[in-house]
């Protein structure tokens, strides 16, 4: 029996039947998971960040398991935007999945180029702009760690893509003042925010006695970072209550998803949890529904940011 909760949610003008999405880079472009569940049964497929050109990514080893988490240094391996639009996107749309396309660039110009290509594609629900990438024009400083560069990326994308398609700016938690970065990209035209990308970490291999990952540092994800994600979402929702948030970071159960929603997320991306459990999204979605019912919520909407309410008594 489907419980009587309206699970639908929105990110700006994009509507989704449920708030549970894949996370960029944790579902490839969807095909691999479609053996385990029907892609149209979840809120959306957020595709792996794509760049203009095909890309090899970083040397292996690319991952290390850590306590309740993992580090990755994939380095945005991918087919490039043209192959993505020609092959992956049409396949996803054929499955009747909602698609959020994630883009990444090394220069402000590259983001605009990507946006231009996306503009000509149809059927996309929203555009996620992953700005947690090194800016080759500024000593490799990650865009999302630089208020000015992040604003300029989003501004370029907004201008290129026009007014229709919602832009979700994906931010890094590795900053001193996250609300400031968030305000900047919203001013520049982001309709929504994706929080959080991975946290920069490192593991030293005790046999080689060198950094374990080919890329030396990597991004920490999984349950270990959930408290950081909740804090980031809560902080940003407090500062910008009108801006919808696609929350993520360590969600592996319905309880985790509800925590992020109460903190202020309008939808949830599930990343690392799918590695341990290919049907994680479906389980989480079902658990979330039951938790909402148990707490008397009739809609997901009512629960968004509920932890911020002032007690009247």
């Amino acid at each position: 029996m489907t419980l009587p909760v309206d699970m639908s949610t929105t990110l700006a003008n994009a509507w989704f039947p449920t708030p549970i999405f894949t996370a960029s880079g944790c579902a490839s472009s969807g095909k691999e998971l479609s053996q385990f569940f029907s892609l149209k049964d979840v809120g959306a497929i957020v595709t792996k960040s794509v760049m203009t050109k095909p890309r090899h990514g970083r040397p292996t080893p690319r991952m290390a398991e850590t306590p309740s988490g993992m580090l990755n240094s994939i380095g945005l391996q991918g087919p490039g935007i043209d192959a993505f639009l020609a092959n992956d996107l049409p396949w996803l749309l054929e499955q009747k999945a909602r698609v959020v396309v994630s883009i990444a660039g090394e220069t402000i110009e590259e983001y605009s180029t990507l946006a231009r290509k996306i503009r000509s594609a149809s059927g996309i629900s929203a555009l996620e702009v992953n700005i947690s990438c090194p800016n080759v024009e500024n000593r490799g400083l990650v865009f999302a760690c630089d208020p000015d560069a992040s604003r300029r990326v989003i501004d370029g994308v907004r201008k290129t893509i026009g007014g229709e398609l919602p832009i979700i700016a994906k931010l890094s938690p590795d900053v001193t003042n996250l609300p400031e970065i968030a305000k900047g990209v919203v001013d520049a035209g982001a309709d929504a925010l994706a929080l959080i990308n991975t946290v920069l970490g490192m593991v030293i291999n005790l046999e080689t006695m060198k950094p374990h990952l080919g890329g030396k540092t990597g991004g920490l994800s999984g349950p270990a970072i959930k408290p950081i994600a909740v804090r980031a979402i809560y902080q940003v929702h407090a500062a910008l209550p009108q801006v919808p948030i696609l929350g993520m970071g360590g969600v592996s159960s319905g309880r985790d998803a509800l925590e992020l929603i109460l903190a202020g997320a309008s939808a949830i991306s599930v990343g690392t949890a799918s590695f341990g459990n290919p049907t994680a999204l479906i389980t989480i979605q079902n658990e979330l529904r039951e938790l909402l019912v148990a707490r008397g919520f009739a809609t997901v909407q009512q629960a968004i940011g509920y932890a911020h309410r002032e007690e009247t008594q």
Binding site: S28, E32, G57, T60, R62, P67, M70, A273, F275, G276
Partner: protein, 283 residues
């Protein structure tokens, strides 16, 4: 909709049927039911480790050593596990009757020839595990099957009695000489290939061994199907952690996922010299 990726993979709970120590390894049999029908030699299984409140969030991959469908318990799957780190140690500690969460079968399988050929199976350490199931299949196709096993020490040679029956010859090497001959499996490889007219080598073991075999047979006609082992976070193709540099027909390199384009790959296609070293370059 027809899936091409993970097309037979199923996630399910399976029961440990038996778990016994064999040398340095644990031979673990699990009741898996129907899925044995879709398991092919070379496929692997991904197992959740550590239980409900585990700090280990990723599955561990294990080669499916062999499956059998005729027991009274429905299908069973055999694994050969080296108690290495915390995940494999947890698995080796699971008693008969424990329930474990598995995803299987995953990955590519060894190519089975349609004609009877002369096959040489080369295993390093627990790498011999999938070779015995493969040997059965090859034998049933009329192939001649020779086997070479190597390990650092004798207790790390996995060569069960039943297994030995399905091969025409078995030669063992250990680095310390504590079992079989002293040395490595690559020692007499070329000689064996020539003397026995080997058509195909099937190998599984440490990456160094696979590379060495590839190099030895590079100038021969011998086909080398090897089962690689790269660190895997997901095992189902969604994370891109397990990639290997593989040469395309046009000479360019692709970083292929060893979980879905492998673990069985053509050794001559793998760019062994680039493993772990592929520069962050735009191809």
């Amino acid at each position: 909709m027809m899936n091409t990726i993970n097309k037979n993979a199923v996630q399910q709970v399976a029961t440990v049927h038996s778990n016994k120590r064999v040398g340095a390894y644990h031979q673990i049999l699990i009741n898996v039911g129907e899925i044995v029908k879709s398991c092919r030699p070379g496929n692997f299984v991904a197992i959740s480790v550590g239980g409900d409140s585990s700090r280990m969030i990723l599955r561990r991959a294990f080669a499916i050593s062999r499956v059998s469908d005729n027991s009274q318990y429905g299908g069973t799957m055999e694994l050969i596990v080296a108690p290495h780190g915390s995940g494999s140690k947890w698995l080796c500690a699971q008693a008969e009757g424990s329930e474990i969460d598995i995803v299987a079968p995953l990955g590519t399988s060894f190519g089975i020839p349609t004609e009877p050929i002369n096959a040489l199976l080369v295993g390093g350490g627990y790498g011999s595990a999938p070779l015995f199931g493969l040997a059965d299949v090859l034998k049933s196709r009329g192939c001649k099957v020779d086997m070479l096993l190597g390990a650092s020490i004798g207790s790390k040679i996995y060569a069960p009695m039943e297994g030995k029956r399905s091969v025409n010859s078995l030669k063992i090497y250990t680095e310390d000489g504590s079992m079989g001959e002293k040395g490595r499996v690559t020692e007499s490889l070329l000689e064996i290939i020539t003397n026995r007219g080997i058509d195909v080598i099937y190998s599984c073991g440490p990456m160094g061994m696979l590379r060495a075999i590839t190099e030895l047979v590079a100038n021969t006609e011998v086909i080398h199907q090897c089962s690689v082992e790269e660190s895997m976070a997901c095992g189902i193709g969604i994370c891109m952690t397990c990639v290997l540099p593989v040469r395309n027909e046009d000479g360019s390199t692709s970083m292929l996922r060893s979980c879905i384009d492998g673990p069985v790959m053509d050794g001559s296609h793998v760019q062994w010299d680039l493993v772990g070293r592929i520069p962050e370059a735009h191809p």
